[in-house]
């Protein structure tokens, strides 16, 4: 009887342990992806990243460690040509109407390998670990991505695309009036932010 109870308990415990296991991170696929991202605007962003760690005892700071680096991000803004559909081009007698996909960040390059160390210090019983530094860099990248939406670059990027496609259509020999419009962004509050999407 005791053995049976013990076995049941063991199974329940194992089951509970299996259920409480956190799910793996987002699934991703390694390999090539053919894309058609047209970048018409490139911006350079500079950010000082200051990561600070404080050790406290009874609310009193006993040691502080910090790392300050100078970082740069290259952001490319444009459109995804794969989102163009045949119906997006309308040719009439005296005019052409083209509806382009929404402008967005098509590439963001923010490699810590290019960061430049400005200052680094450790305090009493306080020093930053590599994992904490990585977390700080991740937060810095998130901050830049969020900030991009408030720059008012959407209009500038749209103008650049209008310029590009007007020239392109004129090169193809179109003499008619050209009207270029943009499809609405997926998220109007964050129009430029780039999302990962599995296709």
């Amino acid at each position: 009887m005791l053995k049976k109870t013990f076995a049941i308990l063991l199974i329940l415990m194992l089951g509970a342990a299996a259920c409480s296991k956190k799910p793996d991170g987002a699934q991703w696929v390694s390999g090539f992806r053919n894309v058609a991202k047209l970048a018409t605007l490139e911006i350079q962003v500079h950010k000082i990243v200051n990561i600070e760690k404080q050790k406290r005892f009874l609310g009193i700071t006993t040691g502080t460690a910090s790392q300050v680096v100078s970082s740069r991000a290259t952001v490319k803004i444009g459109i995804d040509l794969n989102e163009l559909k045949p119906g997006d081009l309308e040719i009439k007698k005296d005019m052409i109407k083209l509806t382009l996909p929404p402008v967005k960040v098509v590439d963001l390059i923010y490699p810590p390998s290019q960061f430049e160390l400005l200052e680094s210090k450790s305090g009493f019983l306080a020093s930053l670990t590599l994992a904490e530094i990585e977390k700080g860099y991740q937060d810095a990248e998130t901050d830049i991505r969020m900030w991009l939406n408030n720059l008012g670059l959407q209009q500038t990027a749209e103008k650049r695309n209008i310029q590009f496609f007007t020239n392109f259509l004129r090169t193809l020999g179109y003499e008619r009036e050209i009207y270029i419009d943009f499809a609405p962004a997926d998220n109007p509050h964050m129009p430029l932010i780039s999302y990962w999407r599995e296709k």
Binding site: F32, V45, I91, E116, T129, E141, R145, W147
Partner: protein, 305 residues
Amino acid sequence: MKRSYIIVASAALAVLILLAIKLSGIFTGSLFSTQVRLERTMNKLDSILEVEELISTEYYGEVFVTLKDAYEDLKRQLPVLYGQLEHELVVPALNDSTGPALRFSPDSCRSILSRKYAHLETYRTLFWGYSRNPDKVLGDLLNQTQDEFIKTKLDRLKGIVKSQQTSSKLSLIARGKTRAYFNLATVKDSILSAHILERDTTYIHLGLLSPQIVTAINPWFIYRNEQIKEGVPGYQVVNKDAGQDRMNYRRIQLLRVYAEKMLQEQAIELGLEERARESLLSTLEGLLNMMTGKTVVFKDVLEAA
């Protein structure tokens, strides 16, 4: 019997006390605490450039890198790096009619290194002496022949690399993206003969185009946001011991640079450039077919031959 009751009661009391301590957070929250945060700093827009680039292929990959391998790679590169340095600094200095001393001010030395060798700056181990003490470099340059200069520095640095290598066990899993893109102005320039009409199809021949290749491992490989709750980090520490878990900026930067190099080599070996060309042609065809309503086929020179 009475004794066993006491034991059970004591155990229950101990469990209750431990539970109370855990719930109150005395030893975890209020007594000792650690806070790590990113201080708020400004994001500064440095420049806005007008470009016309078509990113045609992206390679998402993962590499496992160890500091030991990174140092081995650095050791292999030393002669090449020194060849570049010699070409940039030593040869012009010796051939300068105004004399080497005038050309090699500490500021100019530092400036050349940071401007011309931005990518090498990350190899701080290699250039530590230069960036820290350009006067010493100047002295060495003037007092030694080119060969002596190169040899002395090379030997010393090989020693540094060896000593660092033996004491390091740090390893990382790095995930990032290598992208291949084309400057559309170059594509326009390389159109050899347009409008070769064959029945209803127009063939356009292109010169052999080489894509620009950029590899970057960002802090986020898959960016965590409202849609993707579980992001995937670009770097993940695999093997660390107490000493190496602490920040050692130079070592970690060396490893990051090495990881990006490995990822790019992996992408190129798997055929990134060919895929990028194919993808470019397919995009251009699709775009022109849609815009003109006619059948347009792009062919590069290799395919045409």
